[in-house]
Point group: C2
Chain length 363, copies 2
Amino acid sequence: MGSMPQATKRRVLVIGSGGVGTMAAYALEKGGKATVTAVLRSNYDAVQRSGFTISSLDHGEIQGWRPIRNSIPDVSQGRLKPYDFVVVTTKNIADVPPGVADMIAPAITPGHTAITLLQNGLNIERPIVAAFPSSPVLSGISFIGATEGPLGTIKHDNHDELSVGAFLSSSSSYSYCNGGTDKTDVAKAEAAARLFVDMYSSCPGVDCAYEPDVAFSRWRKLLYNASFNSVAAILRMDTSRMRISEHVIDNLIRPIMLEIIKVAGAAGTPLPSELVDKFIVIDNFEAFFKPSMFQDIESGGFIEFENIVGEPLREAERLGVETPTLRVVYGLLKGLQWQTMEKKGLVKVPVASEPGLKYGGSK
Amino acid sequence: MGSMPQATKRRVLVIGSGGVGTMAAYALEKGGKATVTAVLRSNYDAVQRSGFTISSLDHGEIQGWRPIRNSIPDVSQGRLKPYDFVVVTTKNIADVPPGVADMIAPAITPGHTAITLLQNGLNIERPIVAAFPSSPVLSGISFIGATEGPLGTIKHDNHDELSVGAFLSSSSSYSYCNGGTDKTDVAKAEAAARLFVDMYSSCPGVDCAYEPDVAFSRWRKLLYNASFNSVAAILRMDTSRMRISEHVIDNLIRPIMLEIIKVAGAAGTPLPSELVDKFIVIDNFEAFFKPSMFQDIESGGFIEFENIVGEPLREAERLGVETPTLRVVYGLLKGLQWQTMEKKGLVKVPVASEPGLKYGGSK
């Protein structure tokens, strides 16, 4: 990619087009350095009919934008030109197949396509790196406020702040990278990340920065997600009410944050302890904000708890760090996910005990 | 009391008349050794109009039974004869005033009335003993299945098994009693418990036994309540689904039970570890049973989590026993209770941050 002339637009495929995905697709297109195609599922028919309707604090009112397709393109037949970037903005539900790697595979040209994971959680790059070892894999951490109302209608009401870096980076403290890596691969990944930042930053109104230490930014965001996002889903409580109650912060949120700091430190990514008090009050109080997993529980959707709580917990176990709060929270989130699986028909509930059921018998 | 002639019926006041309370009142009356008055609140009007309608597997169909009043009687004026027994069958919501001691005070004749707490949880006798030091205080542990459908209509569908003993007992391992107690008080309390068992057992069809070791029976029932009842309330999941999922048992129920066994042991009440596997499958699988705190959450009522989880947790802290699972579960139940308090107008949620709010500020 680095050898392409400056004037050539990069071919970008954005997979997943909710609030975050649509605004990323729009910013990349508007920046003028990329030709964007968005892959839609639930909102495809609506957008095919009328285009996206976007009301954005950064970009104003947009109507009729329609850069879409309804399936992952297959580049293996040679009829489509390779994508320079595939940007994944779907939820990352690690415990419900198919995984991200399987989903995006048809669109990846090995050795050419860079993959940007604009998703929450820890270790999400591992299955991607394993499936596409010759592709640069990039981390995107977004602090945008953008939600889809009616299908195809996006309300963008909090500024678009994005940090992008390479998982494989010379300056990253990421445990994954400690195994030693090829310098050429590192340079290639870092170059792809800088190129992505350049494309994205070309759009007026957005704030996209190169992140040299992906590990730090991911563990840092986990401070919020492992605590507020998890407890909000379990209690169905917004973050302002947690702060009013005080004890939810003292008994649950703060202990989880302190456990995340312990694990991150043991994993080679020290986080400043001042972040705890900062993050406890980071949400705009007046917003009575419902974090994403709470919204998912309300709408009956799956929660991405495996990467938000499961992975830090497994890191803790690997490193011998005690995380008792995180462990209980994990068990409860897994219970919530099980209930969603039942509602979606993925687990069967027998009317009576069955042979083979570990806890089936009575008395 | 011991000096009363055999033929004299005891005066019994039953406070709280849901499923459990009504069936206890009925059994005591039907046994022929007690004259029972039941104090009703929510269902008073319905029962005043038509009497209780009871459909009972032990007693058959009963209609029009009406031994009721709508307030706690005040015996201090001397117009009412003293009650020999006051039986408390309300929920024990320790964190929402008024407490049980305040509520029952007008009906207690000091030095005469014995108080039977037919309620869940640990250390529930402490405020009662403190308020009425000259009254025998008895523990009732009920394994009945009885629920109120429409107001005043009781379905009694699981056999009435009751164990009653004195909190203050020569053979109890109860920590409360280890402080050393007057032998006369112990003998008086034990005699009152045996008398209560005799009254109750006189009713055909019920199974009421004298419990010499109240501590054991209370910690034993906590094995179930601290685990299944708590997790059911948090996840809104019946106990059969927990068993089908398996991991809810392995990650949450079993760890809580093991923590309860540790605390009970440290408190001087060793529980056999075989109880864990027995209690995990104790519910009839086909019933898809919803424990009481889950039912309370569904109906918007308060949960009695302070005596079911808070007290064992405080015992653990006092004794230096680690109970990490119980600690997190306690924090979550307290969050659920806070939400109920908000719904009932007992806590105020400001629209914006206010001075004095510990976690009010933004950034």
